[in-house]
C-alpha cells in the first residue's frame, strides 16, 4: 500500500482541510475564521454595515459553509476556493439583508409562492423550511440545556471524542456514560418539542 498522494499538493491539502472541518478540528476552524474575518468585515463596513452586523453576517456565513462541507454540498478544489466560498456567501447574505430592508414587499410575495402546492419545487422548499425550523428548535433547546448534559453532548458530538475517553474524563464506567448520554438526548428532544 503506497501513500496515495506521495507529494503534498494543494489539492491534497484542501481535501485534508475539508476532512478536518467535517470532524470539527478546532485548529482548522479557528484558522479559517481568523484568516477570513477581516476581509469580510472590510466589505460590510464599506457597504454601510456596522462592526456588529459584520460579525453576525460572517458567523452566519461560516456556519452555512461548515454545514455545506459536512453534507458534501461543497467540495473544494483548492485551498483558495473555501476562502472564496466563505467570502461569496457572506457577501450574498449581506446583499440579501440590504435588499430585505429596502424592499420588504418583494420578500413577502416570494414567501407566498411556497403555498402553491402543485409546484414540486415549492414542496421541496417547504420541506427545507420545516427542517430548518426544527433545526433552529434543537439549537435553541441545546442552548438552554443544563451544563452537565451540554458538556457531555459537546464532547461526543462536536469534539468527536470516543465514549470510552469521555467516560474516563467523567470518572464513570463506559456503560453509565452511554446511558447518561442517552438521557441527555431525551431531555434535549423534549426541550426542542416543547419550544416548537
Amino acid at each position: 500500500m503506497q501513500k496515495i498522494e506521495s507529494q503534498l499538493n494543494t489539492e491534497t491539502e484542501s481535501t485534508q482541510i475539508i476532512e478536518l472541518i467535517k470532524i470539527n478540528d478546532e485548529g482548522v476552524l479557528k484558522t479559517l475564521y481568523h484568516s477570513n474575518f477581516h476581509k469580510i468585515e472590510a466589505f460590510i463596513l464599506k457597504n454601510s454595515g456596522t462592526k456588529e452586523q459584520a460579525k453576525d453576517i460572517f458567523q452566519e456565513a461560516f456556519i452555512a459553509v461548515w454545514k455545506n462541507v459536512k453534507t458534501n454540498k461543497f467540495q473544494a478544489q483548492t485551498n483558495h476556493s473555501i476562502n472564496g466560498y466563505l467570502y461569496t456567501i457572506s457577501k450574498n447574505k449581506w446583499m440579501d439583508y440590504l435588499r430585505s430592508k429596502h424592499h420588504k414587499k418583494t420578500v413577502v410575495t416570494s414567501k407566498l409562492n411556497h403555498f402553491e402546492i402543485s409546484d414540486k419545487n415549492a414542496l421541496d422548499k417547504d420541506d427545507d423550511i420545516l427542517k430548518e425550523n426544527r433545526l433552529q428548535g434543537v439549537m435553541e433547546a441545546f442552548k438552554s440545556l443544563g451544563l452537565p448534559c451540554k458538556n457531555l453532548l459537546t464532547k461526543f458530538y462536536f469534539e468527536k471524542k470516543s465514549m470510552n475517553i469521555i467516560a474516563k474524563e467523567l470518572q464513570l464506567d463506559p456503560a453509565s456514560a452511554r446511558n447518561k448520554k442517552y438521557r441527555c438526548m431525551k431531555k434535549l428532544r423534549e426541550l426542542a418539542l416543547k419550544d416548537n
Binding site: M1, Q2, K3, I4, L8, T12, E13, T15, Q16, I17, E19, L20, I23, N24, E26, G27, V28, L29, K30, T31, Y33, H34, S35, F37, H38, K39, Q59, F62, I63, W66, K67, K70, N79, H80, K131, R134, L135, G137, V138, M139, A141, F142, K143, L153, T154, Y157, F158, K160, K161, S162, N164, I165, R178, Y182, M185, K186, R189, A192, L193, N196
Partner: protein
C-alpha cells in the same frame, strides 16, 4: 419532530452508528434494508440527523464567539494572511499552535523542560484523506476515520490484522506508530516508527524520524532524540535541536 414515540438507548445508538459510519458494512446494509420496509425508522433517522446537526451547529456557534474574542489585530493579520496562503497546511497549524503557546507566557522561560518542548512541538499526524470508495483498502481507510476522530484504540485494532498480512508495509507501520504516540504510549510507538525508517520506501521516513525524536524527547532520552531529529529535515526538528543545545 414527532412527539408520539420514544427511542430506546439501543435504537439511538444504532441510528447514530449508521449516521456516523461506525457500523460494519454488514450492519449498514442490514440497516438500509430495514429502512426500506419501515417508514417509522426513516422518520427517526431524520429526527436524529437533525438533532445531531443542531447540537453541532449550536456548539460551533458558541465556539465562534471564542474565536472572535481571540481575533488578532487587523493590520498584522492582513499582512500575515497573504504569506500564510503559501505555507503548507501542517506548518500553518504548527505556527498557530506556537503563537498561542508563546503568548501563553512561555517566553519567560529561557530554557524549557523537555516535557514542555514535547508539548510545544507534538501534534498528531493529521492522517491521510479518506474517501468513501469501494477499494479493497476499505478497512484501512475505515480505521483512518477512527484515527482522525481520535479513537486510536479502534484504529489500531483494525490496522494490526492488516499489518500481520503485510508486515513490511510502511503506511501501516507509520500510522500504527502514530496512533500509539497520540495515545501517549511512546514505548509502543517507537518500534513501529523505527520499522518505517528501515524500509526501502521513502514516503514516511522524514516524518518517522521526527516523531521518534519527539517520542525519545518525552521519555527523556535526549541523545537518542537528537540523533533521530538530526535525520529529519523538518524546520521543527531544527528548532527543537536548537532548544536542546541551548
Amino acid at each position: 419532530m414527532n412527539p408520539n414515540y420514544n427511542i430506546t438507548q439501543a435504537e439511538l445508538e444504532r441510528i447514530e452508528g449508521y449516521i456516523n459510519k461506525t457500523m460494519t458494512f454488514e450492519e449498514a446494509s442490514a440497516f438500509e434494508e430495514n429502512l426500506k420496509n419501515d417508514p417509522d425508522l426513516k422518520n427517526r433517522l431524520e429526527d436524529i440527523r437533525i438533532m445531531l446537526l443542531g447540537i453541532e451547529s449550536q456548539a460551533l456557534k458558541e465556539k465562534l464567539e471564542e474565536f472572535h474574542a481571540e481575533l488578532p489585530e487587523n493590520k498584522t493579520q492582513t499582512k500575515e494572511s497573504s504569506k500564510v496562503k503559501y505555507l503548507n497546511f501542517k506548518k500553518v497549524i504548527a505556527i498557530a499552535a506556537m503563537v498561542v503557546i508563546s503568548l501563553g507566557g512561555y517566553w519567560f522561560f529561557t530554557k524549557e523542560t523537555n516535557a514542555n518542548l514535547y508539548a510545544k512541538y507534538y501534534s498528531p499526524d493529521p492522517g491521510l484523506p479518506t474517501t468513501m470508495s469501494t477499494s479493497d483498502n476499505f478497512t484501512f481507510y475505515d480505521a483512518m476515520v477512527n484515527y482522525k476522530r481520535k479513537d486510536y484504540n479502534l484504529a489500531i485494532s483494525k490496522w494490526e490484522p492488516l499489518l500481520a498480512k503485510k508486515p513490511e508495509n510502511d503506511t501501516l507501520n507509520y500510522f500504527i506508530g502514530s496512533a500509539y504516540l497520540a495515545k501517549g504510549k511512546e514505548g509502543l510507538a517507537i518500534p513501529y516508527l523505527q520499522k518505517v525508517t528501515k524500509l526501502e520506501v521513502e514516503t514516511f521516513k522524514n516524518e518517522a524520524y521526527y516523531y521518534i525524536g519527539l517520542a525519545y524527547l518525552k521519555t527523556e532520552n535526549i541523545e537518542l532524540a537528537k540523533q533521530n531529529l538530526n535525520l529529519s529535515t523538518f524546520n521543527n526538528s531544527k528548532e527543537i535541536l536548537n532548544e536542546l543545545n541551548k
